[in-house]
């Protein structure tokens, strides 16, 4: 599945995420980078955690679909009340950063998904796992009860 045609291009923001991750690791180290991502998972996504507690995997599905607006991501989705499985065939973030003349892909870019989503899962009572290949921009995420 590919997201609908774009009415607005927000891709450059992936470059800024990349810059911010690189900065935090360079200046403050690996542990602080993990703390930063955990903060995003716990504090920024507090609203999503509460929604998952109320509505389960439907909340994750609705959130995911909202993020595909104006985005180039290519993905497949399999959901039921107990499980949310997302297979990304072409990550828009990785794609943009690799093509960018200004950005060098942060070597741990994909790890942010593992840390942020693990925190969301932990605080909403779900299990989570991810397998990814950063070079290819492919990954599979599973949230389950």
């Amino acid at each position: 599945m590919t997201a609908k045609a774009k009415t607005q291009d927000l891709s450059e923001f992936y470059g800024i995420y990349n810059t911010m991750f690189q900065f935090v690791e360079d200046k403050y180290g690996d542990e602080e980078l993990k703390k930063y991502w955990e903060f995003i998972g716990e504090k920024y996504y507090g609203w999503l955690i509460e929604d998952i507690k109320k509505r389960g995997t439907k909340a994750i599905e609705d959130y995911w679909l909202s993020t595909t607006e104006n985005d180039d991501i290519v993905y497949e989705l399999k959901t039921d009340p107990d499980r949310f499985e997302l297979k990304i065939d072409s990550c828009s973030a990785i794609g943009f950063i690799k093509k960018s003349a200004h950005d060098k892909l942060f070597h741990k870019y994909c790890q942010h998904c593992r840390v942020v989503n693990s925190k969301i899962a932990e605080l909403s009572g779900l299990e989570y796992r991810v397998d990814y290949d950063q070079d290819k921009g492919k990954c599979t995420h599973v949230f389950s009860k």
């Binding site: 607005q8 800024i16 935090v24 104006n70």
Partner: protein
């Protein structure tokens, strides 16, 4: 699930809050500097190709149109004035109940002034015009021979 582009305004905002709480305002200034050095290469390139005023005009006019901002932009005699009504990041955060980082509006100056300064131009930026969050005016002019 990657941090999405359409949550950027909120995540960017909260990144500043997190860094300040961990390491003080200096850390926020440092990340703004880093973003300026990296992200503002587009503006720098446009200024190098088209000159400070035309390059800035292209940069902000294109960027603001893409973000869907309500703005006015006016080229003067070696100057540029941009007035933003209802800044999109400020409005987005209000709509999504993300508490605005106290010094959020400072980051625009922190990002773009160094680039213009390099080319001999200065930016004067005023925000919250009339006490209204999201209303700002930016004026780009050349430094005089005394550096003012």
């Amino acid at each position: 699930m990657r941090l999405p582009a359409n949550q950027f305004f909120g995540i960017y905002n909260d990144t500043f809050k997190h860094l300040e709480s961990r390491f003080g305002k200096e850390a926020v200034l440092d990340i703004w500097h880093e973003i300026s050095e990296n992200y503002c290469k587009v503006l720098d390139g446009l200024i190098t190709r088209h000159g400070p005023i035309e390059g800035s005009y292209i940069f902000w006019d294109t960027g603001f149109k893409n973000e869907g901002l309500d703005y006015e932009i006016k080229k003067g005699d070696d100057s540029l004035e941009i007035v933003v009504h209802n800044c999109v990041p400020i409005a987005w955060k209000k709509k999504h109940n993300v508490e605005n980082y106290r010094d959020y509006c400072e980051h625009c100056d922190a990002l773009y002034s160094p680039v213009l300064r390099k080319h001999g131009y200065k930016v004067s930026l005023v925000w919250d015009i009339g006490g209204v969050p999201g209303e700002c005016k930016r004026r780009i002019t050349k430094f005089n021979k005394y550096g003012n």
